[in-house]
Symmetry: C2
Subunit: 170 residues, 2 copies
């Protein structure tokens, strides 16, 4: 993790800094199952969550937003102990450990909130960097939805479901 990077709760004022890289990542269409032409209002409502869910930003020493994560319950009822999370890192800040810092934060948050597991519903199998990162943070591939994702270059590729059990700390 970069020296000086810190993670804090996202405020409405942060959205203006999140949206440019959020839009670029979604428009590229190779990592997320959002419509590539998602408009700003829909993006905002997907990403900027209210408690008890949580949206955070990773910022550098100057306060520049380098990435963001949202964390939430992934199932209802008798499976409501499974959390979910999503991550966006500004491509200009890639390969600096921002995704790892956000992932570690999300796992800590989930354990503190009493969750017993975290599940990622749809990790594109060609997103090798993300798959490797999540594995290094303790996730395993539960299974793969064959041809579950229409990649703009590779055609139909698999969608991994990734998961790890957690020990609640509360």
């Amino acid at each position: 993790m970069l020296w000086g990077v810190r993670i804090r709760t996202a405020t409405e004022a942060d959205w203006a800094a999140i949206w440019p890289f959020f839009r670029a990542i979604v428009a590229a269409g190779d990592t997320y199952t959002f419509p590539r032409d998602l408009d700003e209002r829909a993006g905002h409502d997907i990403w900027m969550l209210e408690p008890p869910a949580r949206t955070v930003v990773a910022v550098d020493e100057d306060g520049t937003v380098l990435g963001s994560a949202k964390m939430n319950r992934n199932h209802m009822g008798a499976a409501s102990h499974i959390a979910g999370a999503s991550f966006m890192v500004d491509p200009a800040a890639s390969r600096k450990g921002v995704g790892r810092a956000l992932g570690e934060y999300a796992l800590k948050w989930a354990a503190e909130e009493g969750y017993r597991a975290m599940q990622f519903n749809a990790v594109v199998e060609t997103n090798h960097r993300a798959v490797a990162l999540w594995k290094s943070l303790g996730f395993h591939i539960v299974g793969t939805l064959e041809e579950g994702f229409l990649h703009p270059e590779h055609g139909y590729v698999g969608l991994h479901i990734m998961y790890q059990r957690l020990t609640p700390t509360t």
Copy 2:
């Protein structure tokens, strides 16, 4: 399938017939990830879908509602070719092929709507009859979320993700 059972689009008037067995199944807490005390309005909004999604009922010759299914898109964007579906059969009409008839109907609907796959997000592993039924209809277990479901009798049990690819017929 029972002689004389047919499947048709659910109307608002059908909800009064669906809710009693829907409520009983949800309250039992051993097959669905809905809150066990789900109220009628929330149940209605979860179940009674608008086009392009679809909710159907299975009725006998007298028009009695024996079961219901909802069918919908399961992912957005580049994974929007994956359908989902959920099923409720009145326990009083169990073991008569109603679930199978609804499952076959859902698969046909999805193929006709152009979907290329169907995914079930959360099939409780102790729900052996459902797991066997879905396998007999072509689904396989993609993977299992270990301890993903808090069963009222068995404690934490696995949640299967089940899937099959489809050939669109449109």
